[in-house]
């Protein structure tokens, strides 16, 4: 039994359309609080409103287009590397000031290696140690950058 129904054929376009639409609405809502000005004297809100509207139009085209045409495949969002890689960078951002470069880099490597399934403890510790000492020697010592090797928790 053939039945014509509305189905999503390009889920990628639909998702992108929804993301851009959300951003578009957000931009317009925030920018409506700014002075629009005139075309001759553009205020801070002038361009944001235009850009927000353009994003909205593109979002509409993408959402509309996702229901027609050939069915496209959808690549799944892979959670594990995303969480561990971004988590490793977050570890760095949170700990760099209190702990300093040496220890932070060492601690950053530990979540990072779990992004591809982890490995034996000894190899994790070796890699972490090599990278921690390596970056400490390179950035603050060899290049003279103002990154504290030890953070403020050690300064008391």
């Amino acid at each position: 039994m053939l039945q014509k129904s509305i189905t999503v054929r390009k889920p990628k376009d639909l998702i992108l359309g929804i993301i851009l639409l959300t951003i578009s609405i957000f931009v317009i809502v925030v920018a409506s609080g700014y002075d629009l000005g005139t075309t001759r004297q553009m205020g801070p809100g002038y361009l944001p409103i235009i850009l927000g509207s353009c994003l909205g139009v593109i979002a509409a085209i993408l959402i509309g287009g996702s229901f027609i045409g050939e069915v496209a495949h959808y690549a799944p969002f892979v959670i594990r590397p995303t969480i561990f890689i971004l988590g490793a960078a977050l570890t760095f951002a949170l700990l760099i000031r209190p702990l300093g470069l040496l220890i932070t880099v060492f601690l950053l490597v530990i979540p990072a290696v779990f992004a591809d399934g982890g490995r034996r403890l000894k190899s994790i510790l070796t890699l972490a140690l090599v990278l921690a000492i390596g970056t400490t020697l390179l950035f603050p010592i060899a290049l003279g950058q103002q990154i504290p090797i030890f953070g403020h928790v050690f300064s008391h």
Partner: protein, 502 residues
């Protein structure tokens, strides 16, 4: 003519001091080293190595950056040839025949021809820049707000046109990039926009942090989703390192043609190097007596696009040096470094800082020379780098991204920006969107707003100013033609698909 000689000798005497040569050497080595690592293109390489140059004086840091830039580009071509993994879009066509040559055991010949034709093209482009940059710099003084705005629109449209995949998606990325560029204090009214009370956002999003997120972290996450196995144990055998006399003879004419094309097309903002390499490859295939060789390891298919993209890469400095407009992501990062050094790129730079300007031009050439002298003997080493397992490599990349971004302002906030853009970059990538148009939009956005506002003040709100002024009108015309050329096949395809459906 004497003027030019004086200028060139000023440049050379600036660049050839033991210290500056050393910076150039280090830049080339590190650029190639990082650029060769799989999954790190020139943009990511430059972004990662940028902090290394902050401690140097302006000239030294520029010279090192030029070395990094050319090293990274060469590294990108190396991975294209050896493992069919182009570091950036402009070396995509190099992979077609270069990788085939590598499979046939001729990787050494392909790599050395790539290096030699790049060097040749770089030399010619340096001369062209030395001859014409002052002239163009002069012409640039005639550019008003309307011309600047139109040129930037053209740059963004070219970037969209050259992006892979859907036109609408790339357009969306560019507009999103320009929108992200709004964050921070508005130059017209000094009002804070989209900062949500965060002091760190006052100066806008840091371009390097955004680039590191979208090129560095996104790339790592993408590479880790599944098939990492294909990245290791792929080192091809190097049976012969040097090209034969016949190879050199076959490559000479294509390299010259590629150089000419790159020198013209490269000036176009928005993706000159990439356009040049594609055009050069197509021309060679068209005029070849045996076009069936192309795609099966034709050495002309390596020589021409490599010459073209190097000439193009070099010429892409022209819009930056004469107009202050960065025409691609790599140049934008270098412009960022210039600004950190307290130098505002633009029409004034030639007269205000001749030492720096001519020093930079000389260092471009020296960077190219270093690359040939150093890298040909080191090809074996670069090849061995490809055998480093990815599971050791990617934690190091994450560490470098974090430390590099943090060292920009010693602020964890930049790292948060990188994390956020890393996540968005990954999502966009899954949805078939490229990061380059977004970043170019982010770079050009604030400048575009400024020039648009000024143009509108001048014309009293009349948008006709963009077509009443001849240079601006010509730029707008080229923009429209570019857009139409890209959209028409897209319309046709959509229509075909819709028709097929019935």
């Amino acid at each position: 003519m004497m003027d030019i000689l004086a200028n060139v000798s000023l440049g050379l005497s600036t660049a050839i001091t033991p210290g500056n040569m050393l910076f150039c050497l280090i830049g080339c080595l590190l650029g190639t080293l990082i650029g060769v690592l799989p999954g790190l293109g020139p943009a990511a390489t430059i972004a990662m190595l940028l902090p290394l140059t902050f401690g140097l004086d302006a000239t030294g840091s520029l010279i090192m950056l030029a070395g990094i830039y050319y090293g990274a580009q060469y590294g990108g071509s190396t991975t294209a040839i050896l493992i069919n993994l182009p570091g950036e879009p402009s070396s995509v066509v190099t992979a077609l025949d270069g990788y085939k040559m590598a499979r046939q055991g001729r990787a050494g010949a392909a790599l050395s021809i790539a290096a030699l034709s790049s060097f040749f093209a770089g030399t010619v482009a340096t001369i062209v820049i030395a001859l014409f940059a002052p002239v163009l710099g002069h012409a640039a003084l005639k550019f008003g707000a309307a011309e600047y705005f139109s040129l930037m629109v053209l740059g963004l449209v070219v970037a969209v046109a050259l992006a892979r995949g859907s036109f609408v998606k790339a357009l969306g990325m560019v507009i999103l990039g320009v929108t992200l560029g709004l964050v921070g204090s508005d130059r017209g009214s000094a009002e804070l926009r989209f900062t949500f009370g965060l002091l760190e956002l006052q100066d806008g999003l840091n371009i390097v942090a955004v680039a590191m997120g979208m090129f560095g972290l996104t790339e790592v996450i993408h590479n880790l989703q599944g098939n990492t196995g294909r990245r290791s144990s792929l080192a091809p055998s190097l049976r012969e390192l040097w090209p034969s006399a016949a190879d050199l003879k076959t490559s000479a004419a294509p390299a010259i043609r590629g150089t000419v094309m790159g020198s013209f097309l490269g000036m176009l903002p928005g993706g000159g190097a990439m356009l040049s390499s594609f055009a050069a490859y197509l021309v060679e295939k068209k005029i070849s007596k045996n076009p069936e060789k192309f795609g099966n390891g034709a050495i002309e298919g390596v020589a021409a696009p490599e010459a073209a993209n190097n000439a193009g890469a070099q010429m892409s400095f022209i819009p930056l040096l004469t107009l202050g407009i960065p025409s691609n992501v790599n140049i934008a990062l270098i412009a960022g470094a210039l600004i950190i050094q307290g130098i505002q790129p633009g029409p004034g730079i030639i007269h205000a800082q001749p030492t720096l300007f001519w020093g930079l031009i000389a260092s471009m050439w020296i960077g190219n020379l270093m690359l040939v002298v150093l890298n040909l003997p080191l090809i074996g080493l670069w090849t061995r780098l490809l055998t480093i397992p990815y599971k050791l490599l990617y934690p190091s990349i994450v560490v470098f991204c974090c430390v590099g971004v943090y060292s920009l302002n010693n602020s964890p906030f930049d790292v948060y920006v990188m994390i956020a853009l890393g996540l968005f970059g990954y999502i966009f990538r899954l949805l078939d969107c490229e990061p380059a148009p977004l970043i170019l939009g982010l770079v050009l956005g604030p400048m575009m707003e400024e020039y648009l506002r000024r143009a509108m003040q001048l014309s009293r709100g009349d948008p006709m100013i963009f077509i009443e002024r001849p240079i601006s009108a010509a730029l707008i015309a080229v923009t429209i033609v570019t857009a139409v050329l890209v959209v028409i096949p897209a319309i046709r395809r959509t229509r075909d698909a819709a028709l097929q459906d019935e």
